[in-house]
Structure formats: C-alpha cells, structure tokens
C-alpha cells in the first residue's frame, strides 16, 4: 500500500535506509572484533600484546583494503554503467600488482616506492582496458570483461616472471597475485602505510563528492551532459583516483578478487542505487567482508591461505548469477 507523503518530504525510494545502515555497521564491527579476537595465536598467553600489535595492523590494513575495493568497485560500476566492472575483473588489480612487484624487484630499498609503482600499473591498465572495451563511444559489458581478463592473464604471468627474475620466493609471487593481509611491517612501511591510509580515506571521500554526478551518468553520457555533468572530467577523475587507491592498496595486499564486484551489488540491494548511500555503504561492507574472508583464510588451514581463494569461492557464484540475470 502506498503511504501518502506530504509535499517536500525527501523521497529516498527506500524506507529501509536506516535499518540498512545499522546492519552494515553491525557487520563491520563484528567482523573487526572477530578479526582481532580469532587467530592462530589464540587470545591468551604471555605474548598477547605482541600478537595484538600484529592483529591491529592487520585489522587496519583490512579496513583500508576492503573499503577501497568496495568504493572503487561501486564507482567504476556507476561510471561505466556496467554491473561487471571492478578493479579485479578489469585487470586493474593485476596491473597494480605488476607495478608494485617491479618496484620491489628492481631494488630492495625501492620497497617504499611500491605504492607509486602500483598506482602507475593500475592507471596504465585502466586506460588500456577502457580503450579496448570502448566501441563507438560505449563501454560494452562483454568488451570490458574480455579486455580485463586478458590483461589479468598477462599481468599475472609478468608478476611471476618479475618475481622469479628478482629471485623472490614463489610464495611471495602467489601472495602478490592472490592477495593477503599478512604484510610484514617494518618501521618504514608502517609509516608508509599510515600515509596510504590517510590518502585512501581522502580518495574515497573524493569519489563520494562525485556521487550525484555518478547518479546522473547512469542515464547515459549524453543525457548527463544535458543535465550539467561534465562527463569527461568525471570519467578522468574516477579513473585516476581509483587507480591511485587500488595501486596503493594492492602494493600492500596483492590483488584481491571479487570484493569490488560483489560488495556494491549487495549494498545496492539494501539501499537502492543512489551513490550517496552506495559509496559509503560499500566502504563499510567491503571492509567487513574482507575482514571476514581474512578470518577464514588464516584459520581454516594452518599457515593461512591467499585471500582470493576465499573471496573467489563466494564471488564466482555471484558473478555467474550477475552474468545470467542482469545481461
């Protein structure tokens, strides 16, 4: 039954907005608590404070990485009007991993430049995939996924090549290609991570400031232009900021699959499509889902698993569902 609303009452099109926020915050808080409380080292003992230091850093990395992947996935899907866009399916995460590996391999002291290498790799991949997928002014769904998959294959191989030539262990290469939150922090990299965390939150805020433009662009580029949106400027901004965010995060975590794809869809189911809700919601949900995946990844097998093994087990069925139902 339609309730009669008075003139001037905001219509968000979804009466579940407040409960949805409560649910997301609960998911996030419980995931964070689990992430801190559960681990191979237990929650008691004399070395608890050292274990907690590690877990809190892991928690911070998980929040930033999951949040960034969620927000970037949501922004790319909105910008390209494409339900399958995401840093991983577009090959951008692999490109970032390649950029980061190259900087790491080229010199041991160059580790501090890994986030920059990740950014360069991500931006280059974004532009190549966009150019390949754009046919007569439109980014087609299949074109984007095909170009992204091809680039992913290429870059995964090149990451492996770089790691072998750089005499790194196979394990390091696997973690770079499939993601993990177990980054080993030294004095320098903790500091570096602090900078990356601040930049990541700022970048997500910047994408959030484009919410309304992204909403308007969902009715097509030409219509958006007639509604006062500078679509070229928005496209460039989203590409550059997304590449920066993904590049920085991947240089710490490696390429994590499917978070950026699945999370925005789940959030849209909760809030409807308006980006003013979807972007911050994707940050919270992305962080929550990534932390939960990490809890699984490091506790079901002794020694831990790469993150993408867990995220893919959830993500692939969802991807198939999207492919079958939405296209």
């Amino acid at each position: 039954m339609r309730s009669e609303r008075g003139v001037g009452v905001p219509v968000h099109g979804n009466a579940r907005v407040v409960p949805s926020w409560v649910g997301l915050v609960l998911l996030f808080v419980s995931a964070a608590a689990l992430s801190v409380a559960v681990g191979p080292g237990g929650f008691t003992g004399t070395r608890l404070s050292a274990v907690m230091d590690l877990r809190l850093l892991r928690l911070a990395l998980g929040i930033i990485a999951g949040g960034v992947l969620g927000v970037v996935g949501a922004s790319l899907q909105g910008l390209l009007q494409n339900p399958l866009a995401d840093p991983f399916t577009m090959g951008v995460a692999s490109g970032a991993a390649l950029g980061a590996s190259l900087t790491v391999v080229l010199g041991r002291s160059a580790g501090a430049f890994a986030p920059l290498g990740g950014f360069a790799g991500a931006l280059a991949t974004m532009l190549v995939v966009y150019a390949l997928a754009r046919v007569r002014g439109r980014v087609t769904v299949t074109g984007l996924v095909l170009a992204g998959v091809i680039m992913s294959f290429l870059f995964s191989s090149l990451v492996m090549l770089a790691m072998i030539l750089g005499r790194r262990t196979l394990g390091e290469a696997v973690y770079m290609m499939m993601g993990h939150l177990g980054a080993v922090f030294t004095g320098t990299t903790v500091w570096l991570f602090g900078v990356v965390a601040v930049l990541s939150v700022a970048g997500c805020g910047w994408l959030f400031s484009l919410s309304r433009s992204l909403d308007v662009m969902s009715s097509g580029e030409e219509a958006a232009e007639t509604l006062g949106v500078d679509t070229q400027r928005v496209t460039k901004l989203v590409f550059v900021v997304s590449s920066l965010l993904v590049g920085m995060v991947v240089s710490f975590t490696g390429a994590i699959s499917f978070i950026g794809l699945v999370v925005p869809h789940l959030v849209r189911m909760l809030f409807g499509p308006a980006h003013r809700n979807v972007l911050p919601g994707s940050f919270l949900a992305g962080a929550g889902v990534l932390l939960l995946s990490d809890v699984l990844a490091r506790n079901i097998v002794p020694g831990g698993l790469p993150l993408s093994i867990v995220t893919a087990l959830v993500g692939v069925p969802f991807f198939i569902y999207l492919l079958r139902s939405r296209l």
Binding site: R2, G13, D215, V216, S219, A223, G228, V229
Partner: protein, 304 residues
C-alpha cells in the same frame, strides 16, 4: 483559394490554435515553473549561423542558418538521416560545430558553462536507458543537478520543484515506483518532468511521442502546448507530420542537412514539398477543428 485569402488564413492560425482545447492541467503548479519572459529579455532563443558539421569527411550541415524566436514552438521534420537529431545535439551543445556559431538567448553556447546551459536548455533525448533502478522521484531530482553545488543536498525548494514537475506531467502517483518498472508512456512523462525540473526556458525534444499510444501522444502534446503558452521556447523533432502540423507554430523541413522549408504548417505540409523531400505522394487534408494540414498515407499502388 486566392493567394491573399490563404495568407489571411495562415495569419489567423495562431489564434485558432490558442482556442483549441488542450487537456486541463493541475492549477496548483508552483510559479517557479512559470518562466514568463521578463521585460528586456532576449527575443531570440536559438540562433544558428553559418553552421557546418559533419561526421567524418562528409559535411551534413554546410553554412546552415536558423533563428528560433523566444516563445516559439518549432517542429523539425524530415526523413531519416536528414540531420534532425544532429541539429538538436548541436543546439544542446552535445556536439560542437566545425564552423559557425550556436547562440542561446543571445549568448555563445560554447562560452556558457555546462551547468548554466543545463539551467537554460532542457533536453528530452530519444533513448533513455537507466543502468540502475532509481525511483521516479530520484530520476526527476537529477534535473536539479545543475542548480546544486558539489556538496549541496537537494533542499525544500528542490523537492517542491520535483513535485511540481511530476504533477505537471500527471505522474506524481509514480514517484516511488522504479524507473525500469513503469510503462513507456509513463517513462516519457518522467523524463519530461526531469527536464522541467531543470527549469529551462528552452525545451528540446527528440521524438518525444514516437513510442506512445494516441492518448499519451495527445497528453504529451497538451503538456508541450501549455509549456509553450507559459512562454517557453520548444523545439520538437518528430516523424509525426500530423502532430507537428497540429501543434507547432512553425515547421522546419530538413532534407539532407538543408532547410527545404521553414514556415507555418500550411506552407510546409504541402503535397509538393512532402513529395520532393520524402518521395511519397501524400494526401493532404484539413483538420476539421483547426483547419491545419494533415497528411494521409497513400496506398501502395499510387507510388510516384
């Protein structure tokens, strides 16, 4: 009919169309939707001069000129590929001319910012796909985009304008529906309401009635006539010669980027012009209520 009698009849045309009954519209529409031109406001809404534009090597428009007066209701007709949609996109600033100028309200369009242009010109495009399932109210609120700053949320006034625009097109009852779940006629009204929420003085419409049944066609036409009566300039692209002839004050007949004619309907919807541009032998009759020309499709065995 003698020449001067015919001219007299044509001159009287506007009066008669004004008397022609149009669907009643909600009188409680906010005055902000009412853009009566102020004293000293520009008299030319759209001015194209020496316009050249082409796709690839071939020039579609070469030195094209057109003046649309403020408050005019211009129909643009012509065969497929005549350049109607291109002309509209040039007027809307979606395409930049190779040479020549597009002036809107006596200002160069290229020098007007995108947001300001969107506060002046509302456009209803032919295709309106929505990648995500926004509510109707959210879609119409997108029309407020050029009025809002980056971090500004829609306020009370914006919601009033949205409500008013939805009322104007008789679609207020749809406001909580999903845009991809309503019918084509409803969707067309919603997209028109979104353009009205921009509060534009000029409205450009590309085939706004082409997918619609006769009742919806009449409804959209009634809305456009009323908007025009309020002082808005309207440019309507249509394949429907009869609709254009009934409601437009002037018709531009485009043929391969040239103006084959641009005049009151009586002088454009004629057997000779239709035959020379479209290559069919039409039967032109008078509308019994307004006397405006109406075209009947010829049978197949009367092809020229």
């Amino acid at each position: 009919m003698k020449g001067n009698e015919r001219d007299k009849e044509i001159e009287g045309q506007r009066d008669r169309v004004a008397q022609h009954p149009i669907p009643a519209l909600d009188p409680s529409i906010p005055r902000s939707l009412d853009p009566f031109p102020e004293a000293g406001s520009p008299r030319t809404a759209i001015e194209l001069s020496g316009l050249s534009f082409g796709y690839g090597q071939r020039l579609l428009f070469d030195g094209f000129n057109l003046d649309v007066a403020a408050g005019e209701f211009l129909g643009v007709i012509g065969p497929n590929g005549a350049g109607k949609s291109t002309l509209l996109k040039l007027m809307a600033g979606l395409l930049r001319p190779g040479r020549g100028s597009v002036r809107i309200l006596e200002r160069e369009l290229g020098l007007i910012g995108r947001a300001e242009a969107a506060r002046t010109i509302g456009v209803v495009l032919q295709e309106n796909p929505f990648a995500f399932d926004y509510t109707v109210a959210d879609v119409v609120m997108m029309g407020r985009n050029p009025h809002l700053g980056t971090f500004q949320s829609p306020g009370r006034h914006d919601r009033q304008v949205v409500t008013g625009a939805l009322k104007f097109v008789d679609a207020l009852f749809l406001r909580d529906e999903r845009i991809n779940a309503i019918s084509a006629g409803e969707r067309q009204r919603v997209v028109l309401a979104r353009a009205l929420a921009q509060e534009p003085q000029i409205l450009l419409l590309d085939e706004a009635t082409s997918h619609l049944d006769i009742a919806h066609q009449q409804m959209i036409a009634g809305i456009l006539v009323e908007l025009n009566r309020q002082g808005r300039t309207i440019v309507l692209l249509s394949h429907d010669l009869n609709l254009a002839a009934l409601y437009c004050s002037r018709i531009l007949l485009l043929d391969k980027g040239r103006a084959a004619a641009c005049d009151v309907p009586e002088r454009v919807i004629t057997g000779e012009l239709i035959r020379s541009v479209y290559g069919v032998e039409p039967i032109v009759m008078r509308h019994p209520e307004t006397g405006r020309p109406q075209v009947l499709m010829p049978t197949l065995n009367s092809r020229p």
